[in-house]
């Protein structure tokens, strides 16, 4: 393809947007509305995802070491735990350290525990973190069987519930986004089909005077691209300014809780990029699907 031809395709694609003014508007609106919905969902979903990741990360297994274990026994137990493939890290915490933590966590009233400093009833523990939080239960069950592992605690019961809930939320969100995208594609391909139907004569004449299918497709390809990109601009602006507003509003209030929002950067770039790419893809796809009907291939 020569440079002149490429120039022609660009010129044609822009001219056609202008010539089919109302249809251009309709197509862009279809992209805008759907991407707006997808954008909002995406932001909410990614934040939930972020939040559940945070919660899951806090999950740990506390292995209470049997009081009769010698240093060598402890070392053997650590080796055994580390040998489990799903285990990420093993940290040792002596019973004195555990007591200090306990006293600290109770603040003012913690001082009453100081009595136990002389005769500490706690046991030494290994704090185990798995590589994947969802493996926690499996790993805990394995550790329970080891010698000198007195008690294994990981928030039995609650953890299974947490993982089940986050999994459901993730799947619902994914399903909704995929559903929305399909609706968008359908809407856009229909709108573009109408504009192309109005131009079937043009395609017919192009075929008649010896234009190749590739040549005929180019301006339509570009047109779809512009429609998608133009349609994505408004949703990107709206979603990002809304997120920035919500973030500024909620972030200070959430500072001391375990719920954290995704920081604005680089999240803004990611969302903007994803929406732009989605817009371009559905625009091109819709346009190509519609022009296909008029080309004998």
């Amino acid at each position: 393809m020569t440079f002149n031809t490429l120039k022609r395709h660009f010129r044609e694609s822009f001219k056609n947007l202008g010539r089919n003014g109302w249809m251009t508007f309709a197509s862009i609106s279809a992209v805008t509305v759907t991407l707006l919905l997808v954008g909002v969902f995406l932001v909410v979903m990614l934040n939930i995802q972020h939040f559940t990741k945070q919660v899951e990360k806090d999950v740990e297994i506390r292995v209470h070491i049997d009081l009769t274990a010698t240093d060598a026994d402890k070392e053997a137990l650590r080796k055994q735990i580390e040998a489990i493939p799903e285990v990420g890290s093993v940290t040792y915490s002596s019973k004195d350290e555990e007591l200090q933590k306990l006293i600290k966590s109770f603040g003012e009233e913690g001082s009453s525990f100081k009595l136990f400093e002389q005769d500490n009833p706690l046991s030494d523990v290994f704090i185990v973190k798995t590589k994947e939080p969802t493996d926690t239960v499996k790993v805990a069950k394995k550790i329970e069987k080891f010698k000198f592992a007195d008690k294994v605690k990981y928030g039995q019961g609650q953890i299974e519930k947490l993982f089940a809930t986050t999994k459901v939320i993730r799947n619902i969100g994914l399903g909704l986004i995929i559903g929305l995208l399909f609706t968008a594609m359908f809407l856009i391909s229909n709108t573009i089909k109408i504009t192309i139907f109005a131009r079937r004569r043009e395609i017919e004449i192009m075929r008649l005077v010896g234009a190749t299918n590739g040549f005929i497709r180019w301006p339509f390809f570009l047109e779809g691209l512009w429609l998608g990109v133009l349609g994505a601009l408004l949703p990107i602006t709206v979603v990002l300014s809304a997120y920035s507003y919500v973030f500024d509003l909620l972030h200070p209030k959430l500072e001391n809780t375990f719920v954290q929002l995704l920081p604005f950067y680089p999240f803004a770039w990611q969302i903007g990029g994803v929406l732009l790419l989605l817009g371009a893809c559905i625009g091109i796809w819709g346009s190509m699907m519609s022009v296909h009907r008029f080309l004998k291939v």
């Binding site: 022609r8 004449i205 075929r207 008649l208 005077v209 040549f215």
Partner: protein, 228 residues
Amino acid sequence: MIEMQDVYKTYPNGVVALNGISVRIKQGEFVYVVGPSGAGKSTFVKMMYREEKPTSGSIMINGVNLAKLKESKVPLLRRNIGVVFQDFKLLPKLTVYENVAFALEVIEESPKNIKKRVMEVLDLVRLKHKARFYPDELSGGEQQRVSIARSIVNSPAIVIADEPTGNLDPDTSWEIMDIFERINERGTTIVMATHNREIVNTIRKRVIAIERGKIVRDEVRGEYGYDV
């Protein structure tokens, strides 16, 4: 040179349009294709620019068998064949100049050559002064001249016309025929399907008559021969 050998065409709905056609048209000939409506004239000419494929038989145009031509090679064939229709098939949103230039743009001709060639053919059809007009600002005859200009702008060896005077009044039809004759004089083959008895009987050329999908008559300086 166009050569058809035992061409049959049955449409998917069962209609038999061509029922064994063999014909040879030499380069530079002027041929009328006549016959009653529905006899297969249109299918016959459509075969030549590969709008339809034969069910069986072969169609050779300058050594290429259209029956076996790949879909991707059809554009290249079309660049060597001009086609003119009864309803002109002009693009209403393009000017006369742009409509003609369109045929060169899509085959990626350089802009310099496009300008030169378009002005040449507009001169040939005597429409140079209306280059900036839009189709709906022209008479039917003028529109047809634009479509003829478009069909010959890339200097094809063959021009196929499917009832080019079908929508025009008698005076205008003669103008159109004058242009076709001049194109033919320059060595271009013309194949014209027509219902215009006066033209066929006055400007005497080879006449191929088709009835029920068969060639029933082929005369060097023939007559229209139907009393319709």
